[in-house]
C-alpha cells in the first residue's frame, strides 16, 4: 500500500475542494498566502482521517484470499453511508457555516476518492504491467 502517495494526492484534493467552496463565496487575492499555508493543517487532517479510518480496513482485511477490490466492495458502502450521515449532520448542526460545510464536503469527497485510490493500486499496477508487456511484444 502506497500510503504517502495517497496522502499527498488526498491532501491536494482536499485543499482544492475546501478553497474552491470558500472562494465561491468570498474570494480575495490577499487570502492566497493563507491558502498556501492551509495545506499544512489540511495535510494533518488528511493523515488523521485516512490513516485512522481507511487504512485499518486494508491493513486488517487484506490477505491472499481477500483482495483490495473485495475490501472496497464490502466495506466502502457502509463507510460512505456513515461518512455522509456524519457530514450532513455536521453541516446542519453548524447551521450551514461556510467554513465547516467546506470542511465536511471536502472531507467526504476526499475520503471517498482515497478509498478508490487505495483499491485501484492493484489494478493500475496490473494495467501498467499489461501495457509494458504489449510494448515488449
Amino acid at each position: 500500500m502506497n500510503v504517502p502517495r495517497n496522502l499527498a494526492k488526498s491532501s491536494l484534493l482536499a485543499s482544492i475542494i475546501f478553497w474552491t467552496i470558500i472562494g465561491s463565496k468570498e474570494f480575495d487575492l490577499d487570502l492566497i498566502p493563507i491558502v498556501m499555508l492551509s495545506y499544512i493543517p489540511i495535510f494533518l487532517c488528511v493523515i488523521i482521517v485516512v490513516v485512522g479510518s481507511i487504512c485499518p480496513f486494508y491493513w486488517s482485511a487484506k490477505n491472499d484470499i481477500f483482495t483490495k477490490a473485495q475490501i472496497f466492495k464490502t466495506c466502502f458502502p457502509y463507510y460512505t453511508c456513515i461518512a455522509f450521515g456524519l457530514c450532513c449532520y455536521g453541516i446542519f448542526a453548524s447551521d450551514c457555516d461556510l467554513y465547516f460545510s467546506a470542511f465536511c464536503i471536502s472531507a467526504y469527497i476526499t475520503t471517498n476518492q482515497s478509498w478508490v485510490w487505495f483499491a485501484k493500486e492493484d489494478k493500475i499496477t496490473s494495467i501498467l504491467t499489461a501495457l509494458n508487456n504489449q510494448e515488449d511484444n
Binding site: 492566497i32 498566502p33 458502502p77 453511508c81
Partner: protein, 467 residues
C-alpha cells in the same frame, strides 16, 4: 448524447433548487428524475415492482406540492431512494433497495470509478494520461500566475490598481458548484449500483422455513412443553391484566387531562414491552423444527390466543387514546400513538402469518418494512396541521389554543377564518392575526420554484393582506 442529458438535468437541478426553499421544485425534480431513469434504464421500467415504486414516488411528489409538510418531503426522499434502489435491483427486499438507493445516490460515481472494466481501462489509459497532462497545463500556470500577480501587486501601485479593478462578480461560482452537485447526483443515478454482498445474500434468502437434518422428536417435545407452559401462564396473566384494565377504564374521569394522559402513556409503555416480548418469544419457539412437529397444535393455539389477547390490549389502548382525543383534541403525539398502534397491529398479523405459513424471520422483516413504507406514504398524504386545527376547533370538547398557534404556518389561514367564532382572549386573536399576516407575506414573496397548492388556492387573499 447521454452525457448531454445529464448536463441538461443538472442545469434543471440548479434552476429548481439553487437558493430556493422546497415547494413545486421538488415535485418537478421527482418527475424529471423519473424521465431521466426511464431514459437510462428503459428495460427495468417494464417491471411491475418498479412501476409500483414509480407510482409511490409520483404520489409523494404530488403531496409535497399539496401538503408542503416535512413528512411529505421525508416520504418523497424515501420514495426516491426506494425507486433508485429498485432500478438497481428490483427483486430485493425494500430495506436493501433503500440501502442500494442511498449508496447509488451518494457514492455511485466512486463505485463506478473503481468498478470499470479492466479491458476498457487499458484502452483508455493513455487518454487518462492526456487528461492529466491537460489538467497540469491549465492548473500549474494558473497557480503560478496568481502567485506572481500577488507579488507584483505589492510592488507597483498602478498594477495594484488595475488588478483591484478586475471584478469577477458576474460569475456565480456557487451556482456553478451547485450545478456540479446536480451533475454528480444525476451521474450517480444514471447507472444504479448495488451493495455487495448484501444484495446477493438478500436475493438468495427466501421466505420459507425448512426442516433441519437433526430433527429430534424428543428435543422438540421438551421445547413444546416449555413453550406451552410459558405461553399458557402469560395468557392467564394477560387476561388478568385486561380485566383489571377494563375495570380501571370505567373509573377514568374524562375531564382530567393528566389522568387520561397517565392511562394512555402507561398503557403504551405496557404495550411496547408486551408486544416486543410477545414477538420475541414466538419467534424463538417457532424459529425452526417446532414448526414441523406434528404435535404442535396446542402450542400454536396458545400462541394465537396470546396474539389475540395482545390485539385486545391494542384495541383498549386505542380506545383510551380516542377518549383522550375526543376530550382534549388532536395533537401530533396522540396521532403518533394511533399510528404506532396500527403498526403494532400489523406486526402481530404478520407474526400470525409467519406461524401459520411457516415463514422465517426475513419474511417478517420484509413485510413489516414494506408496510412501514406504505404507512409513511399514506401519512404524508394528510395535511395534519389542518386536520388537527379543524378537529380541535370544531369537534373536540376542549382545545389548547397555544398548541394550535404554535403549529406550523400551514394552519394560519384556517385559524384566521375561525378565530371570530372562538371564545378566546383578544391577545390570542392578535397572535393569530400576526401569524396569518406573516404567513401571507411569506407566501407572496415566494418564487415559482417554491409554490405550493396553498399559495395557488389563496391567490385572491394576497391583495386583502396588503391592504
Amino acid at each position: 448524447m447521454k452525457n448531454l442529458i445529464i448536463i441538461i438535468a443538472s442545469f434543471l437541478f440548479s434552476i429548481l433548487f439553487y437558493d430556493r426553499a422546497i415547494g413545486l421544485n421538488l415535485s418537478i425534480f421527482s418527475l424529471v428524475t423519473i424521465v431521466f431513469l426511464v431514459i437510462y434504464n428503459p428495460d427495468t421500467f417494464k417491471n411491475k415492482t418498479i412501476l409500483l415504486q414509480t407510482f409511490a414516488y409520483v404520489l409523494s411528489a404530488i403531496f409535497v406540492f399539496i401538503n408542503h409538510s416535512s413528512l411529505a418531503i421525508i416520504a418523497n426522499c424515501a420514495a426516491f431512494f426506494t425507486l433508485v434502489g429498485a432500478v438497481s435491483q428490483s427483486s430485493t427486499s425494500i430495506y436493501v433497495q433503500w440501502f442500494n438507493g442511498i449508496y447509488t445516490s451518494i457514492a455511485g460515481f466512486f463505485h463506478r470509478n473503481f468498478d470499470v472494466n479492466d479491458e476498457a481501462k487499458r484502452v483508455d489509459f493513455k487518454k487518462y494520461i492526456d487528461y492529466l497532462h491537460m489538467a497540469k497545463l491549465i492548473g500549474i500556470p494558473l497557480v503560478f500566475i496568481t502567485l506572481f500577480i500577488l507579488l507584483y501587486k505589492n510592488g507597483n501601485p498602478i498594477f495594484n490598481d488595475l488588478v483591484s479593478k478586475i471584478d469577477f462578480n458576474f460569475i456565480n461560482i456557487q451556482w456553478f458548484l451547485f450545478t456540479i452537485l446536480g451533475y454528480y447526483l444525476y451521474s450517480n443515478i444514471s447507472k444504479p449500483v448495488q451493495v455487495e454482498p448484501a444484495t446477493s445474500i438478500d436475493l438468495k434468502t427466501g421466505n420459507e422455513l425448512y426442516q433441519s437434518n437433526d430433527f429430534s422428536e424428543e428435543k422438540l417435545k421438551k421445547e413444546k412443553q416449555l413453550g406451552t407452559t410459558l405461553l399458557g401462564f402469560l395468557n392467564l396473566l394477560l387476561v388478568f391484566y385486561i380485566v383489571t384494565d377494563l375495570l380501571s377504564m370505567s373509573s377514568i374521569k374524562t375531564t382530567v387531562a393528566s389522568e387520561l394522559s397517565n392511562h394512555v402513556h402507561g398503557g403504551i409503555n405496557t404495550l411496547i414491552a408486551s408486544i416486543i416480548i410477545a414477538i420475541g418469544i414466538i419467534l424463538y419457539f417457532f424459529r425452526g423444527d417446532l414448526n414441523f412437529y406434528t404435535k404442535n397444535k396446542t402450542l400454536k393455539n396458545i400462541t394465537f390466543s396470546w396474539i389475540a389477547l395482545n390485539i385486545v390490549l391494542i384495541i383498549l389502548i386505542a380506545f383510551k387514546n380516542q377518549i383522550y382525543i375526543t376530550s382534549f383534541g388532536l395533537t401530533y403525539k396522540r396521532i403518533g400513538v394511533h399510528i404506532y398502534i396500527l403498526l403494532t397491529l400489523i406486526g402481530l398479523i404478520t407474526t400470525i402469518l409467519k406461524v401459520i405459513k411457516i415463514k422465517n424471520l426475513t419474511f417478517l422483516f420484509r413485510r413489516n418494512t414494506q408496510v412501514t413504507f406504505v404507512v409513511l406514504i399514506i401519512c404524508s398524504m394528510i395535511n395534519w396541521d389542518s386536520h388537527i386545527t379543524k378537529y380541535n376547533l370544531t369537534k373536540a370538547k376542549a382545545f389548547d389554543i397555544d398548541y394550535l398557534i404554535n403549529l406550523s404556518n400551514r394552519n394560519a389561514i384556517m385559524l384566521n377564518e375561525l378565530k371570530e367564532d372562538l371564545t378566546i382572549s383578544q391577545e390570542n386573536k392578535n397572535r393569530i392575526s400576526t401569524k396569518y399576516r406573516s404567513h401571507m407575506k411569506d407566501l407572496s414573496q415566494r418564487n415559482w420554484q417554491e409554490w405550493n397548492y396553498e399559495l395557488i388556492a389563496n391567490l385572491d387573499k394576497f391583495d386583502k393582506t396588503k391592504n
